[in-house]
Symmetry: C2
């Protein structure tokens, strides 16, 4: 009975919001966006993410207000980063894991994808939704690709703010997909609780695409496509990665990275990946590292944002711009030291 | 005959410089420092490094001029980063390698040590020199610890500038020692051609001190202390690290990291470590990555210096300082978002 009342209330709220404002795109107030998000209206959630991604000053002001409203309602999710080279089957895996979480674990799953290296513009939105057939039509799932343009810093900021909005909208599992070949993994590592690396059996050439340093920051490595003829190869790979991991530096949080295989295509071992994540959360919650990590991440993002904001302020200076190229090529050709060039530019900035 | 004339000239030059100015500490002109460095006067080299490390504005001005003078005379060395946890035997190894290079390969070796985590102040200078007995009294060696105080950024900048001075002074091999437990490795990786990681056999607990991500950026891993009862353990470790390395992402420069053992104490395999470095230089020179890496490093240091300079400008603002602590704790406790806090601080900075 209560449930029916709640649903009715949600329906009325949504309808009202739709009626009053939804016609004029992006014209809601922060409070109206917030109300829509709180009742889990994914249409309004989508619009509010677009707002966050907007570079228009008036949008940014509403976005800032909205984030502050959502912040007290956020944080109650498990944030998982998922990476691997193109072709490893990330989308199929996320489709499989997401469906499992919704159907078996009663979760609400938000999927955010980051690919700053992609210039495919809007195309990737359709691409992601097509690749995640059943998730994209599931009411308990929300799929959102990162903005296709913009700097990595901007994309990362938008993603971190999107996490807050999704959590306020009631999503309790946030899956963040990256391509595993760029800089984005370090950024993503700084916004998730758990970092999963998908690999293929028969390591070697396939690994060339993975950036150095990523294996060592993974909380789990799963060999995907462990099906059919690949099963034997996957078992060998598991053993080899386990050996490799044994020689990695230990985590402060006492977690020993898990190595196993799965087949997203055949829904095999998808439950094991989730159990791994749950074990991690149990361990790190009990030893305090879960919260400590989140606090450190918040601090990191404060410093990071300050840093990137003032750097942006610097590089947007027109006098700097005109001098920059000249000095940069002198530095690269070792005609002046990078330190002198930096000092010269800074003198321009200060004056 | 020419050699004798050269030596005589050097002697006279050195004496003149000593006579005219050396009495008044740090009072040479940039040109006088430069002349002293060019003839390989290590006393003047030492003083000029102290100048670089000084935070006094008048010293910084001379230092800047000096660096620009030295820059055209620099670059003709192999720069090697050496890291490993305390106790792995870095000093003994450097003593052994340095002596080998001077005696067998006719090299001039400069050793720079970085330990920003150490608060041991001046003590480490004596410590290093004591630990490197024979190198410290060798005329073809120059040992210089990093400034014991100052930020990591400052230490890194001073180290990179010290490399330039040492190269201008005719040192053709620069060994840079770091402790392998802090942030400094990424900085050092950005100023060397080759990055060597020293490890101990019987991996496991000893590795806890090594920072994650370091193994994957090493160009070689040598198991030190492979002597006496340790030899068998070292051989097993070699095989295991080789297996691990096989699963690391590949280097763009086509170099496959080498794994072997050595005993610095017994001077065993020290020649192999050097042959490894020479092979690396041969390979990367022929495929263009050696110079490309140096150019990228110069660009990195330009961006890095700009970044750290304007960040320093920001944090030294007294209004920022007074607001910072308050906002930081609000961010850590998730009362406000890091992005809003950063924006608030930036507004203070701009006004």
């Amino acid at each position: 009975m209560n449930l029916i009342l709640l649903l009715l209330f949600q329906l009325i709220m949504t309808k009202n919001i739709n009626k009053t404002k939804i016609g004029t795109r992006n014209s809601l107030t922060a409070k109206e966006y917030f109300d829509g998000i709180l009742i889990g209206n994914t249409s309004i959630l989508s619009k509010s993410i677009t707002l966050i991604e907007s570079s228009l000053l008036e949008h940014q002001k509403i976005a800032e207000e909205l984030i502050e409203l959502c912040l007290p309602k956020s944080g109650n999710s498990i944030r998982v980063g998922i990476t691997g080279v193109p072709g490893v089957g990330k989308s199929t895996y996320i489709e499989s894991l997401g469906t499992y979480l919704i159907e078996e674990k009663n979760k609400k799953v938000a999927v955010l994808t980051i690919d700053p290296s992609s210039k495919k513009s809007g195309g990737s939105i359709l691409g992601d939704k097509t690749r995640m057939n059943s998730l994209s039509v599931n009411n308990n799932a929300f799929i959102r690709p990162s903005p296709s343009s913009g700097t990595l810093g901007g994309v990362a900021k938008a993603t971190r703010e999107t996490i807050i909005l999704c959590e306020a909208a009631g999503f309790d599992t946030i899956l963040i997909e990256t391509v595993g070949v760029g800089q984005s993994e370090i950024e993503v590592k700084s916004m998730v609780d758990f970092f999963l690396l998908l690999m293929l059996a028969g390591a070697g050439d396939e690994l060339q695409g993975i950036k150095r340093g990523i294996m060592e920051i993974a909380d789990a490595i799963f060999i995907n496509k462990a099906d059919g003829e690949n099963i034997d190869k996957a078992n060998i790979a598991i053993q080899e990665y386990k050996n490799a991991i044994h020689f990695f530096p230990k985590n402060d949080n006492k977690w020993i990275p898990k190595v196993d295989s799965c087949s997203a295509l055949e829904n095999k071992n998808i439950d094991i990946t989730w159990e791994t994540i749950e074990s991690f959360v149990t361990l790190t919650t009990s030893n305090g590292h879960f919260n400590q990590n989140r606090k450190q991440q918040a601090k990191y993002w404060l410093e990071h944002t300050i840093n990137s904001s003032i750097t942006a302020l610097f590089y947007s200076n027109s006098n700097i711009k005109s001098k920059m190229n000249e000095l940069e090529s002198q530095v690269i050709n070792e005609e002046i030291s990078p330190f002198k060039a930096a000092r010269d530019l800074l003198a321009i900035f200060k004056s």
